[in-house]
Amino acid sequence: MRYLPHTADDVAEMLQVIGASSLDELFSSIPQDCRTKGDLKLPGPVTEWELNDMMADLAQAMAVVPDYKVFLGAGSYQHYIPATVSYLLGRSEFSTSYTPYQPEISQGTLQAIFEYQTFVALLLGMDVANASLYDGASALAEALLMAARVNGLKKVAFSSLIHPHYRLVVRTYLEPAGFEIIELPYTSEGITDLTGLKGIEGLAAVAVQSPNFIGCIENLGAAAGLAHDAKSLLIASFTEPLAFGLYRSPGALGADICCGEGQSFGIPQSYGGPGLGMFACLKRYVRSMPGRLVGRTEDRDGKPGFVLTLATREQHIRREKATSNICTNSGLCAVTSAMYMASLGGSGLRELARLNYDKSEYLKNELRKAGFGIPFSAPTFNEFVVELPVGSEAVYQRLLDRKLVAGLPLSSFYSGMANRYLLCITETKTKKDMDELVSQLRACYDI
């Protein structure tokens, strides 16, 4: 087996040094009644070539471009990934290294993460960003926990237009620890109804997602005002960071903590993971932050360098008193997103964001012209909701047969959303793709 370098001679020599007579004897400290009975009943071993065939077969059984046109977003976005990014992150010095606890031989990862932190802070308009969390959902849970720590309160409010999955994850994290969670309704324009916030006392944080789950841009400024009036923190969540190439950043609008999913930035969708939990906040809260931080410092010779820092917040030092239990995070995804942001640059980010916007506006317009409903009036980024005439389930299925995945049916996520579909248009969809979608929809409905 090519992964196991030991020859029979090696094993014999080493056993002799150890003074054991067999490999089995090495396990003599394990009581007999703790031993596995019999051998592992596992398939294989398969050869590298058989594996290639098996995995190709599995991968073949997935609906992806170019065979399918997938108009899905809802927290996972198809964006083009430059060949440079895939190549660079595949360099084994990045991919096969451990968490950079030994800074002298980890400066590559450390500088890359330091730059990532800077990118994220700039993007979100915040002071500081951490080295990443698992994904957008757990990042939101961590943000709420952090706000609770900052404010010493266990009550939080979040918008019902936060990604439904994120809300579930928040509940998983918070409810056993005895949190009270208030869910804010939404308005007919498609944004969070903040009016309910007024009366609530003892709120640690208010969390809003923008663009929200149905693609609409929230009024973060108003949310910040209300949150701050209530002496609570505004947490701005997001699933599509590309939006901040066009729309004002959460930080500029008054968010205290900003967190979300960074998959859009050069990370393959991979059926939902690994993703990248982006997490940033104001400087004054940095010591309450979860996750790792890279800081700049100097070496003995006065040469600049980077280290993991503020570790006293973390589990390996503070154990049960840590700001979070996170240890392994999404390091390589963070580096990937930095490579992607570096490739875009500020100019490219603006241009690409605008292109996403314009493409989705084009489709919105075409659908509207064709007589389909656009139920929410708030501005959107690259996602929006369309309302189809009744019988949409069958139409959706017919489009699937034609290899068009016409968005996400919203009926299972919100009541009152029958026949509504969340459509996503990124730069990967051409005008032709969109025209095709519209014409197929028209054909199905005979309009």
Partner: protein, 493 residues
């Protein structure tokens, strides 16, 4: 002296990205604009972040140069105790990059996702067989999230029985994530110590276990590198008082096919795919921390779960007792693909993985124990813990010893952990290192120990040959500089 791997070579400097570039460059191929500009609400739009504009060559050189400042498993031996830095097979990367996987949207209709669903379903089955547990959720994104999931299962289990317990037993050798994960669920960790053999005693646990204690978190083999030989007795005690037994499976690399966790009283176990199952660490993730449970705890596993229906697979969420969701989608599928590939590639030979991992660790232990103080002088599993006791009189610390190892071309072992060993030096060679490499490592440490006596300044000031020398961590924490100065300027006050 033998020739060691550490050497001097040309490694290039590279400034910060933010000190590079010029407005108007671009490093990406801008997709074609085939639609018009549409009006946008100017009130809502901003100027966009002030990222530097770089050409493709600048981005490529930047990260190429940065990469050369890093040590990875492909660079050399990485004997990080508790972290199982084994070789990461290249073919696994290839599988994860297949367009059908990498390009798959997580909300695709199930009938269009059968490939991934099948892979996940089968991986769960394989992990059941390997661990001897009875049901698996692949959702946790790392070991610590697996622990959290496990603690949530504890919580949900007790709740389902109408009770709420506030404490949890955690050995003093535990990894920091264990108490942190327990605390996150609202449990108060209660520390128990290990005995003079470096393992938990039944009595010690019995004394700590009571009716307000949800159970115990053990790591087995533990972080001293020993099998918790009293585990069955401990489990009996805990179970008798209505508690559950959690095992941190970070050290499973020692006992694949050797110990069936389900048979020795473990109720809940997490695995680290990025340790035992060869997925790369990526400089700190992403990983995956599947949660394995016994049958009676299956109802509590995170949703959605993957269910087989006459040969096809679907995601099911109708599990009312479930602890809920932990991840935006289904966990780190890209990592699962790698682990699945690894398991298929080894099959029943996985047992040999553990045999050789333990062989390597014991070999190192024997070869080093005359020069480094062995915390517990008994056969170990896949790792062994030394300390700086013998070098302390020379004013040489663990830190000095391992920083000097860098000059010899080796990554330092894990240090100052577990906490119960003062000046700990925890070595886990893994099965993928060959005997010659181990011998070289031994010889390097022998040289270093000699240097410690003869020229201690070589150690105090090590490493000598790296891009930077020892860094000022104190000042880094005191005056945190966490973004590029002058770039992020949000006037706060």
């Amino acid at each position: 002296m033998k020739e060691f791997a550490g050497s001097i070579g040309l490694v290039l400097n590279e400034p910060l990205l933010f000190d590079k570039g010029k407005r108007g460059r671009v490093g990406i191929s801008m997709p074609r604009r085939d639609v018009d500009y549409f009006p946008v609400d100017e009130e809502l739009t901003g100027t966009g972040p002030d990222f530097p504009d770089l050409a493709e060559i600048e981005v490529v050189r930047h990260y190429t140069r940065l990469s050369t400042w890093n040590f990875g498993v492909d660079t050399g031996m990485y004997p990080l105790g508790s972290c199982t830095m084994k070789y990461n097979p290249k073919t696994n990367e290839k599988q994860a990059a297949l367009p059908g996987f990498a390009g798959a949207h997580p909300l695709l209709p199930e009938e269009l996702s059968q490939g991934v669903l099948k892979m996940m379903f089968e991986l769960e089955r394989l992990l059941v067989e390997i661990t001897g547990m009875e049901a698996v959720s692949l959702q946790p994104a790392a070991g610590a999230q697996g622990e959290l999931a496990g603690m949530l299962v504890f919580h949900a289990f007790h709740k389902s029985r109408g009770r709420r317990r506030s404490k949890i037993i955690v050995p003093d050798t535990a990894h920091g994530t264990n108490p942190a994960s327990a605390a996150l669920c609202g449990f108060t960790p209660v520390k128990v110590g290990s005995n003079d053999r470096g393992v938990l005693s039944v009595e010690g646990v019995a004394a700590a276990m009571d009716d307000d204690t949800a159970g115990i978190m053990v790591t087995n083999p533990n972080t001293l590198g020993f099998f918790e030989e009293n585990i069955r007795g401990i489990a009996e005690i805990v179970h008798a008082r209505g508690g559950l037994v959690y095992a941190d499976g970070a050290n499973m690399n020692a006992v694949l096919g050797i110990v069936s966790m389900g048979d020795i009283g473990i109720d809940v176990l997490h695995l680290n795919l990025h340790k035992t199952f060869s997925t790369p660490h990526g400089g700190g993730g992403p990983g995956a921390g599947p949660l394995c449970v016994r049958k009676h705890l299956e109802p509590f596993l995170p949703i959605p779960r993957i269910v087989e229906d006459k040969g096809s697979f679907r995601l099911a969420s109708d599990f009312p007792l479930s602890i809920g969701k932990l991840h935006a989608f289904y966990g780190n599928v890209g990592i699962m693909i790698r682990a699945y590939s690894y398991i298929l590639s080894l099959g029943p030979e996985l047992k040999r993985v553990s045999q050789l991992a333990v062989l390597n660790a014991n070999y190192l232990k024997e070869k080093l124990k005359d020069i480094l103080h062995l915390a517990y002088d008994r056969p170990c599993m896949h790792e062994c813990v030394f300390s700086d006791k013998l070098q302390a009189p020379l004013k040489i610390s663990t830190l000095d010893l391992v920083k000097r190892l860098i000059d010899y071309g080796f990554h330092p072992p894990t240090i100052y952990f577990p906490l119960v060993v003062t000046g700990a030096l925890m070595i886990e060679p893994t099965e993928t290192e060959c005997k010659e490499e181990l011998d070289l490592f031994v010889e390097a440490l022998r040289e270093i120990v000699k240097e410690a006596a003869e020229s201690p300044e070589l150690l105090h000031n090590a490493p000598w040959r790296t891009k930077v020398r020892r860094l000022d961590e104190t000042n880094a924490a005191r005056n945190p500089r966490l973004t590029c100065a002058g770039v992020v300027e949000r006037s706060e006050e």
